[in-house]
C-alpha cells in the first residue's frame, strides 16, 4: 500500500476520493457536523458522469457516504455503477435501512467494506444520540445481515461525553458480531465553521486515559515517548494526503481537499474534476506546504510526530498555523508543550480541557483496536 501511495503521489493521481451523495439523513445525531437539508444534490446522471471522470483520473479507493447515503433511492444504482468502473468501494452508513435483501445486494456488488457508527451497546444511550428510537436494534440487525453475507463490517465508535463509558461494551458487541472495531474521539466543527458540536467532545483526562490504554494504543511507552529530533525529512514533509492523493466531493459537486478541510477548490458542475484536481489554485497551495513552511510548527519539537490537521488549522483561521486540537493531543501524549501552545502563552495550568479535541484518523494505528 505504501508503494501504491508513493506512486500516486509521484504521478499526481487522486488515489482516494470521499464522495458524499447526500447530506440528508434519517438520524439526527447530536454531534453531526452537517446540515441535512437538500440544497440541490447531484442527480444520478451527474454522479455517473463524475464517477466516469474519477475513473479516468485514476481514482481507486472510493468512499460513498453522506448524510445517510441509502436515503437516496438511487444509491444502489450509484454503487453498482461505481463497481462496474472498478472502484474499491467503501460504504459509510448508519445501516438502519439495510435488511437481508440490501445486504445480499451489497455482497453481490463486491463492496469492500461497510463502516457503521455505533455509539453504545445500550439502546438508551445510542438512541439518545441518534434521536431515533429503536435505531440501535436496527443497526445491530443490519450488521448481522451484512456479516451473514460475509461482508467486512467496521463498527466506528465515536466517543463523546455521553457515551465515553460504553466503548468497552461496543467493542464486545463488535466482536460478538464478527465486525472490526475502531474508536474515534473526533468531533469536528460544523462544515460552515459552527462550533456547536464541540460541546460534546470528551475532556482532557479522558483523552489522556485513551493514550495510556494499551488495548487502544499498543505500546504505551512508545506511543507516549518524547518526539525524536526534527530532521530535514520532517521539514520537507507534508502533513497528510489531503489534496495530494485524496480529496472530498460534496453532494453539490464541490471539491475540497478533505471532508474535514472546508476550502472550496472548484465545482464539478462548472468544470471537469481533472481540471480542478490539476489546476485549482487552492489545491496547489495546499500541496505546496511543507513542514518548513509552517511559521509556528516548523520550530516545534513535535513536528515529526504531530498529527497536525491542516483542515482544522484552516478552520481556526490559517491552514499554515497550528491546529490547537493537535497541539493539545501532542501535549497530552508526551507531556511536552508544543510551539503552538507556547506561542499562545499556555502553561501547565491553562490547558483548556474544553478545547481538547480530536484524535482523528491520521493516527489509525494508534487508536484502532481490531
Amino acid at each position: 500500500m505504501e508503494r501504491l501511495n508513493h506512486k500516486a503521489l509521484r504521478l499526481g493521481v487522486p488515489l482516494s476520493v470521499h464522495l458524499d451523495v447526500t447530506y440528508r439523513c434519517n438520524e439526527r445525531c447530536e454531534h453531526c457536523y452537517l446540515e441535512h437539508d437538500d440544497l440541490g444534490e447531484m442527480t444520478a446522471p451527474e454522479i455517473r458522469s463524475l464517477l466516469g471522470q474519477l475513473e479516468q483520473s485514476g481514482v481507486f479507493f472510493l468512499t460513498i457516504s453522506g448524510g445517510e447515503p441509502l436515503v437516496r433511492r438511487d444509491c444502489f444504482e450509484i454503487l453498482e455503477f461505481a463497481r462496474s468502473l472498478g472502484f474499491n468501494v467503501k460504504l459509510k452508513t448508519n445501516a438502519i435501512l439495510i435488511k437481508e435483501q440490501e445486504a445480499r445486494k451489497l455482497r453481490s456488488l463486491g463492496i469492500e467494506q461497510v463502516q457503521i457508527s455505533v455509539y453504545s451497546d445500550r439502546s438508551e444511550v445510542h438512541d439518545a444520540i441518534t434521536k431515533v428510537p429503536g435505531s440501535l436494534l436496527r443497526t445491530v440487525a443490519a450488521i448481522r445481515f451484512l456479516r451473514g453475507q460475509g461482508l467486512k463490517v467496521v463498527v466506528a465508535n465515536v466517543l463523546m461525553k455521553s457515551n465515553f463509558q460504553d466503548s468497552t461494551g461496543v467493542r464486545a458487541l463488535a466482536a460478538e458480531l464478527g465486525a472490526q472495531f475502531t474508536l474515534d474521539p473526533t468531533i469536528t466543527p460544523m462544515l460552515d465553521g459552527g462550533r456547536s458540536p464541540l460541546r460534546f467532545r470528551i475532556a482532557a483526562k479522558e483523552v489522556k486515559s485513551i493514550f495510556r490504554d494499551p488495548n487502544l494504543v499498543g505500546d504505551v511507552e512508545a506511543f507516549c515517548a518524547p518526539p525524536p529530533p526534527v530532521d530535514d525529512e520532517m521539514q520537507e514533509g507534508f502533513p497528510c494526503s489531503a489534496g495530494h492523493t485524496a480529496c472530498y466531493i460534496s453532494p453539490y459537486g464541490d471539491v475540497y481537499p478533505c471532508v474535514q478541510f472546508p476550502l472550496p477548490c472548484g465545482s464539478v458542475r462548472k468544470e471537469t474534476f481533472l481540471n480542478i484536481w490539476r489546476n485549482s489554485s487552492q489545491l496547489r497551495e495546499v500541496r505546496s506546504i511543507r513542514g518548513k513552511d509552517l511559521p509556528t510548527c516548523s520550530s516545534c519539537a513535535h513536528l515529526g510526530t504531530c498529527t497536525r490537521c491542516p483542515g482544522l488549522a484552516f478552520m481556526e483561521g490559517n491552514m499554515r498555523g497550528p491546529s490547537s486540537a493537535d497541539c493539545e493531543k501532542s501535549f497530552l501524549r508526551t507531556g511536552i508543550f508544543t510551539a503552538g501552545m507556547l506561542a499562545r502563552g499556555a502553561n501547565s495550568h491553562s490547558v483548556d480541557a474544553h478545547s481538547l479535541v480530536q484524535i482523528e484518523g491520521s493516527q489509525p494505528q494508534a487508536i484502532v483496536a481490531v
Partner: protein, 103 residues
C-alpha cells in the same frame, strides 16, 4: 493439454496506474500490483479466450519471449491469482461481465 480459460472475478477492484494494474480483492482486501506482462494477461482474461492464445497472440508478440517459457510463467501467474479469488480458472469458456478493466 487441456485448454485453460480465465475470467476476472466480479468481486475485485482494479485500476490501471502508469501501465501497471492494481487489483484488490473484496474478500480479504489483498492488494496485487501486476507487472506489465501480468497486466496484459489480466486485461485479456475475458473468459472465452484460451490462455494459450493469450500467451501466443499477446504476450509472445508484445514481449518477444519464448512461448513455452511464457506459457509456464502465465500458468503460475493465473494459478496464483485464482487461489486468491482474483481470477476464475476453468477448462471451459466462462461467462464474463464484458467489462474493460483497462479503460
Amino acid at each position: 493439454m487441456n485448454e485453460k480459460y480465465i475470467a476476472r472475478s466480479q468481486k475485485v477492484a482494479w485500476r490501471l496506474l502508469d501501465g501497471e494494474m492494481i487489483v484488490m480483492s473484496a474478500f480479504n482486501s489483498t492488494l496485487f500490483n501486476l507487472n506489465t506482462v501480468a497486466t496484459r494477461i489480466w486485461q485479456a482474461a475475458d473468459g472465452h479466450t484460451p490462455l494459450s492464445k493469450i500467451v501466443r497472440g499477446l504476450i509472445c508478440e508484445e514481449f518477444d519471449v519464448d512461448p513455452e517459457v511464457a506459457y509456464r510463467d502465465a500458468e503460475v501467474f493465473v494459478n496464483e491469482l485464482a487461489s486468491h479469488g482474483i481470477l476464475t480458472l476453468s477448462e471451459q469458456p466462462v461467462p464474463s461481465s464484458g467489462d474493460k478493466p483497462w479503460a
